[in-house]
Amino acid sequence: MSAENAAAGTAAHLQHHFVDSEQQQESAKLGMWIFLLTEILLFGGLFCFYAIYRAWNPEMFYDAHTHLDITLGAINTVVLITSSVTMALAIRSMQLDQKRATLLNLFATLALASVFLVIKYFEYAHKFELGQLPGKYYTFEGIAGSNPHVFFSVYFMMTGLHGIHVLIGMGVIGWIAYRTSKGHFSGKYYTPIEMTGLYWHLVDLIWIFLFPLLYLIS
């Protein structure tokens, strides 16, 4: 969505088919929310899978989840929530026309996102080592119950799709930071940052549900 407003500056960013900046900004925001809706339904398919397979195999899900590292999961939750705060602060700084603070907050968000992915990488690497992998690659033998690989199929699909979204988000934040440094935004025009923020918060929202569903099965 933010690409729509790629033109620079307050005066130049208005496209010919809009009456004024406000109409343009509201359109972008509405479009972004509809995009978030499609994202929710995209992840929704996986949540549906999760619900059905957990309802079918409650014990197996419990046994399998004990092989996830709650500490790492909790740290990642904290990291992602903090990155959401810094993202929100980046927007606030831009509203106040503080370019430097905006950049700092954007970089903090990027750094936290990298920490998230690094921790995820260690979790994945550990599971690859043990053979706790989806489907036919599953070789681990420490879990009783039938078809424990289903849990790891669901785990890898959900966290994998989420991870891809984190990566995309980092790309967009990097691009936004670049444009901020070039002075493309101001307190009057900061729609792309706002749109990126909405996307980033959604990525956070999804993790808020993934964490208890995958790591905290009781």
């Binding site: 925001k29 929710i40 059905i52 606030r92 307190g187 918060h201 929202l205 964490f211 208890p212």
Partner: protein
């Protein structure tokens, strides 16, 4: 479409930091609750906490509280349709066989019916086989 200009809504710094702390506290709570065995209530509690966290993020970080209510409708609409998807699918997956009582069993590969329909190259010429009763005869590649 031509309402008066809406002033940009800037939240105070404390709000963001306060919400952030609340989210972190709720994270600790949800990990702690998971260690207590409440039976099936555990899932419910975990989901309520997650929903509370999600609402905080949506209302304050995503500005739903201050923005056009249409955006909230879109978000809730997405959740509503997702719920319909999950619930209606589970009407199937959780209730198979409760009315009819017939359950899936292994396929009986000794069943007589297979002898007739697995044709392959040994089958007699097409003209002699085709009749009104044999409709699903397989076609051998040589034909």
């Amino acid at each position: 479409m031509t309402q008066p200009k809406r002033a940009i809504h800037i939240l105070p710094l404390q709000t963001y930091l306060g919400i952030g702390s609340a989210l972190l506290i709720l994270t600790v709570v949800t990990v702690w609750v998971a260690t207590i065995d409440l039976g099936p209530i555990n899932l419910l509690v975990a989901m309520i906490i997650a929903a509370a966290k999600a609402s905080l993020v949506a209302l304050f970080f995503m500005h739903l509280k201050y923005d056009n209510k249409l955006y909230a409708v879109i978000l809730l609409g997405a959740l509503l349709f997702l719920a319909a998807f999950v619930v209606f699918t589970m009407f199937d997956t959780m209730d198979r066989g409760i009315i009819d009582g017939v359950r899936a069993g292994p396929i009986n590969d000794q069943a007589v019916i297979y002898e007739q329909s697995t044709s392959g190259p040994t089958l007699p010429p097409a003209e002699s086989v085709r009749s009104d009763t044999v409709l699903h005869r397989e076609i051998s590649p040589s034909e």
